[in-house]
Structure formats: C-alpha cells, structure tokens
Symmetry: C2
C-alpha cells in the first residue's frame, strides 16, 4: 500500500467545498498565510505534515527531522512560516512540523487550514501524522500507541460533527496498513497498535479525580476505563476523533502516534520527571521519523 509505486503518491488533496472556487483570495487566518502567495513554491514538495501539541515540540521535531533525514539546519535555525500567535509551523525538506494546540476545537482549525494549504500548494501524496502524548490505559508509561480507531468519550466509534444544528457521525477508523508500517519502524521503542479515546477535556471528561470538580468516584472511573480497555482502547487524549474523521473525509492517509505519559489504571497525576516526559514525547517522534526515513527510500 505505502510503497513508491502507489498511485496515492501522485494525488493532490481534493477539498470538499465547492464554495472555495468563488474566493478570489483564501485567507488561512490562523496560519497567517493566503492563497495569493506562491504556496506551490513554499510547500509544493511537502510529503508529511506532522502535528504535535505545543509550539516548542514542533521546533524540536523539526530539528530532529533535519538530523535524521540529513537536511542542513539554516545558520539561524529553523524559522516559523506565517504567523505564530496560534500555531508555529516549520518546514524541513518534505516535512512540515506544526503544533495543533489542545483539544478538538484547536486541531479542527489547524486541519482545515493546513489541508487547504497543501491543496493550494499542489503537494502530492501528503500524509498527515498526529504525534503527541496521552494517558495510557493498561500500558506502561513511555509506550508509543499507534491508533487503529478513535472513540469519543461516550465510547462510541465515531466523531460527532455538528453543522448548522444537525449532528453527523463521521468515520474514525485509520489505515491499518499505515499503522502497521509505522509499528514496524519502532526499533527498540516499546509500541502497540490499539484504539484511542478522544475526550472533550482533560479532567472530568477523562474521568480524572484530580480536577477542580469531581462528582464521580474512583470505582466509576475504573469501571469506565476497564470498559474501554476491554474494547481494545490503549490510550486517551483530546484530538483523535477530529483528526481521524477529518482525514477520512478528504481521503488523506493518516496516523496517530502518541506516547503514554502514565497508566491511568494506576492513577491520574502526571508525576514522571521532566526528563522522563521529554523522553516519552521523543519516543513517538523517533518512531515517526524512522518511518518517514524508510518511506522516502
């Protein structure tokens, strides 16, 4: 599926919005870019859009990509492209590294604007990756979970998309071939393929008992987490349903690769040292870069 002879490699992203043809210039407001720029020159050779939570991590990933892919770092370092008030985007050869913020609302904005950016740039065969951190469910801290399917926080296997008052259920299954191909690049990093719950928040919506509000009990939390675990869920975060549903809708090959910061069956607080947490985040970046290096051939 994912080798050089694949016809996907020659395909541009087809946007599903006929209204865009009527815009003289399309302002990608949160990126600080617009379709009047020479986006083809700037982004036409992009093959991988790698999204992570924070701006800091997007820059770390850019530098790491340069190192692993043998791309020279500019003298003054990689500079963000466009504005940085909301998102910070870096380009390293065929790789775009950008942060998506936290939660469904934030990544929805990035996905829409970056997909339009890639379409206007006529980039071919682009794959989208979400790299991040997550709460593990029944896996050891540090394990990299590659998502096969995303569930919402009611443990339903789809994404609710509300449009003009109507709620549509969208498909959140991700390519098993791509997940396996990434898993095969794990080398000595602990990794697993499993399902991911995408919650609408970090505290109550993930069943945590350490937020400012908790009316539920430890027993309710564990029953819910165990139910999820029994369905094949291996981690929980806040963006997977939106990411998977969006990419599916546009036919973009995509994968979610998140390190577990803790095992939620053991507790709620993130207590690993900053060094350990950095190593965990590094694990998911390393697995993806191993894959990209192999995929580029």
């Amino acid at each position: 599926m994912n080798n050089k002879s694949d016809s996907y490699d020659e395909q541009e992203i087809t946007l599903k919005n006929p209204n865009l043809d009527n815009l003289e210039v399309d302002y990608l407001y949160h990126l600080g870019l617009h379709s009047g720029m020479d986006l083809e020159k700037m982004f036409g050779d992009t093959k991988y859009v790698c999204m992570g939570g924070s701006a800091d991590r997007a820059l770390v990933f850019a530098n790491k990509a340069a190192e692993i892919l043998g791309i020279e770092v500019p003298e003054d370092g990689f500079q963000p492209i466009g504005k940085t008030e909301r998102f910070s985007m870096y380009k390293v050869g065929p790789v775009v590294s950008v942060n998506h913020g936290m939660g469904i609302g934030s990544i929805e904005i990035l996905l829409n604007e970056v997909a339009k950016l890639m379409a206007y740039a006529k980039a071919k065969g682009v794959k989208f990756f979400r790299l991040g951190t997550s709460g593990g469910i029944g896996v050891e801290p540090g394990t990299v979970v590659i998502t096969d399917k995303a569930y919402n926080d009611r443990l339903e296997p789809y994404h609710d998309k509300s449009v003009c008052g109507e709620v549509e259920k969208r498909n959140t299954e991700l390519s098993p071939e791509l997940a396996q191909a990434i898993f095969d690049c794990r080398e000595d990093i602990s990794a697993a393929i499993g399902s991911t719950v995408s919650a609408t928040g970090f505290y109550e919506p993930q069943g945590r008992l350490d937020g400012a509000i908790a009316y539920h009990t430890e027993e309710q939390k564990l029953a819910w987490l165990r139910k999820a675990s029994g369905m094949g869920v291996k981690n929980m975060e806040m963006e997977a349903t939106e990411f998977a549903a969006f990419c599916n809708e546009l036919g973009i090959r995509s994968s979610i690769i998140c390190a577990a910061l803790l095992n939620r069956l053991d507790g709620d607080q993130v207590t690993s040292t900053p060094e350990e947490l950095a190593q965990f985040a590094d694990n998911s970046q390393q697995v993806v870069l191993n894959y990209i290096k192999k995929d580029l051939g």
Copy 2:
C-alpha cells in the same frame, strides 16, 4: 452586588472534589506549578483572572493592566510564571493574565488548574473573565459583546459535560449584574449584552463555508445564524459554554467579553486589516480594564 461590602469579596473558591484532600502535592501539570510551592505568597492577592486566546495577547493585556491600574512594569518586562509550553501566565498586582488556547478542550484544562491555583493561594473574591474575539451575528465588526447566556452549537442553552460515559447538562447563564456592571464601563466603545454560541470548531461547526469541507449551503448557514439571532445570540466563539458552566459549578463570578471580528450574516472570511483586528481585541481589553479600575475603587 459587586461593591466593596459584598460578602463574595471575602470568599475563597471552594473546590468540588473531595479527592484533592488525599493528594500530598497537587501538580498543576499544564501550568508548571504545584501545591508544594508558596502559592499564597505568589497569588494570594489575586482578584481577577483574565483569560484570552493567545499568549501574545496575555502579555499585551498584562502591560495594559499595569498602565491603567498604575502598576510599575519590571525593568525586564513582565515574565511568565510557571511553564509556557501550553499557557503563559502573568501577574500584575491583583490581575492574573493568562491565555487559554482555542476551544473547549483547551480552556477546560486552564479553568481546572487556575481554579485550583486560586483555591490553594486562598485568594478571596476572585472573578474570572474571558476576553477574546468572536464572530458577530447581526452586530458590526468591533462591537464588544458581553455574554448573558451561552448556547452549544445545537443552539441548546446548556453545556454537555461527559463524565465516565454519562452526559450531564450544566448551567451556562452568567451573572446579569456583572454583565451590566461591565457594560456600564464601555465608555465610547460600541458594546452590547447578548447570548453567545460556543461551537466545537471554527469551520463546519460554525456553519462556515470557507473550510476544507462544506457539504451545507449558504441558505442552511443563514437560516441557522438567523435562528440564533432570533434567540438573542449576538456572537459565536469556541469556549463560552465550558467557561460559564465551570464558573457556575464553583460559584465563581464570571463574565465573557468578546469583540466581534466580523458580522457572520455578511460573510465568513476575516478580512479586516491586522491594525483593525488589533483594535477590536483591544476594545474588549479596554472595557474589562475600565471595569476592574472602577471595581477596585
């Protein structure tokens, strides 16, 4: 309601989570602070927590607060407290200025951690404000909308909070007295009190026709926006339901003050100049600072 003799001014925030008593140290993970620090010394005199979208704007607000409240700016400028990977927090006398990112998921994290921070700091009579930008509905660009009630994007007047698979409807009505008191401080800035729709995204969930995906029509969009307008809705953004429901649950006096960047009944794209957009964001900050100055007496 909001004068000096008010008993609210003497009240600390009461957290609604008995489990917190069992934590030796509570790590406010995304703030980079913990309860083992001398939070009372650092934050005990806080009276207003002002949250805005971006880190840049949080610093602009901090400087503006210093100017209007007559507080000296440190020689090297205001420095963020805690870590800045996710949120950037500044303290200016009785004012905390911090960004909340975009969307319900992001502000949920900040609200939980900043409420715990204020409780641990034993701050008294703290009010929470969300200052931001929004899409106006039937109001001119630049108008500051002060929210009386938040609706979700199905136009229902409550916030769905999903906890361990059960969905609870939480109250999103905000204090009419506080809204009026802030409105009364508008001076020559165009302002209005009205309801706010909080959507789960920026593009399809707000009915926009300029995202990467749009299966709906201009007619469906306008019918939906007009329905909202007929219910008293004056603007649309992505955090109001979570903010209002959270503050209500803890009894925190709070208000949402957002400038409209455009009138959605006229179009979807944000096309004002950067100078105009900065002025619009400035309007909501100015109104809130007028109120704070008056409230401090």
